[in-house]
């Protein structure tokens, strides 16, 4: 139960592939609570991944229900342990920023619809369908678990438009 500080690149932890969580225990629950507290404290944030607070484990939280873009279509607070994307389809591009890479934003193209499998805070296996902004936020946080930043996925509209012509 603590707001943790967000670590920023070039901390090597942000480029590390995180380990799966084996057992649900008190430590895991405390980590989940820290992630939630940290996300809520950073008022503008819609998600935090464990490596962003210095823990190299496959755990992330997302909640887009309070944001303008996600208000209409969301699953509320998602606690995702060992999450992975089972299926994806569609493409949409959004200008993303990241608390771990301040002062820089870029256009990122991600899947529009995803099917996600994960373990929740209570240890239940879950499968959900997410779409739109929530799907984008989930994909952004899941990338952190694989040591990827949005910088690894940036595409610019300009390049897209002009490349088709050639």
């Amino acid at each position: 139960m603590a707001v943790r500080s967000i670590i920023q690149y070039p901390d090597p932890l942000l480029k590390t592939v995180c380990a799966p969580v084996a057992e649900a225990d008190a430590d895991l629950d405390a980590l989940v609570q820290d992630l939630i507290d940290t996300m809520v404290e950073a008022g503008h944030s819609v998600g935090v991944a464990a490596p962003q607070i210095g823990v190299c484990k496959r755990v992330a939280v997302v909640d887009v229900s309070k944001s303008k873009m996600g208000r209409e279509n969301n699953h509320g607070l998602l606690v995702m342990i060992n999450p992975h994307i089972v299926e994806q389809e569609g493409r949409e591009t959004l200008r993303e920023g990241c608390m771990s890479v301040p002062d820089y934003t870029g256009n990122v193209t991600r899947a529009e619809n995803i099917v996600l499998q994960f373990r929740d805070r209570e240890g239940r296996e879950k499968v959900i369908r997410a779409s739109g902004f929530e799907a984008v936020a989930i994909q952004h946080e899941l990338d952190h678990l694989d040591g990827l930043l949005f910088l690894d996925r940036v595409s610019s509209v300009k390049t897209d438009v002009f490349r088709r012509k050639r």
Partner: protein, 179 residues
């Protein structure tokens, strides 16, 4: 640290960036911001550079002479203190796509509407595409809206211009989301 704006343009070929940045590296210059792109057959580099001691054009001596001798045009502007920092204009960011049959004045007509309403253009690209018989003009621009103008109003303004100039325009918000 003194800052300078450096622009370099020349017929595109492999090795321009290496040649330019080697000169800057040997001078002890830092590259802060830069944007380089190919326009037509020309490669254009725009860089904000800094140096701990250099104070003006003369500090660079004839360091850029080899670049000029290899057919690159070099222009250096000495920035006033603080000139390297952007004005920090906050506001909603939008992307405006403009396209239509090529005709004179497309850029000007759109830019005039924006300028009159204090919309700040932060990025602008244009390209002539399509066939020789039916050329199509494409313009993509990013702009920051002033506090007293919302995206719906701007969309309405652009709708009117669409009819008047016979072009297609779309406006959408691209204000970044922090994740």
């Amino acid at each position: 640290m003194n800052h300078f704006a450096l622009t370099i343009i020349g017929r595109d070929r492999p090795g321009i960036v290496a040649q330019v940045t080697e000169s800057l590296y040997r001078l002890g210059c830092n590259i802060a911001d830069s944007s380089c792109s190919i326009l037509g057959g020309q490669f254009a580099m725009i860089l904000i550079i800094s140096h701990p001691e250099f104070t003006g054009r003369e500090s660079f001596g004839d360091a850029f002479l080899p670049l000029e001798e290899s057919n690159l045009s070099v222009f250096l502007r000495t920035l006033k203190p603080g000139g390297e920092k952007h004005a920090g204009i906050a506001g909603e960011i939008c992307m405006i796509s403009v396209y239509g049959s090529d005709q004179p004045g497309i850029v000007y007509r759109v830019a005039r509407e924006l300028g009159e309403r204090r919309v700040n253009i932060t990025d602008l690209n244009t390209k002539l595409v399509g066939s020789d018989e039916r050329p199509v003009y494409v313009m993509m621009l990013e702009a920051v809206l002033p506090a007293d103008l919302c995206i719906e109003e701007l969309t309405e303004i652009m709708k009117n211009l669409e009819k008047e100039v016979q072009i297609d325009i779309s406006v959408r918000s691209i204000t970044p989301i922090e994740l």
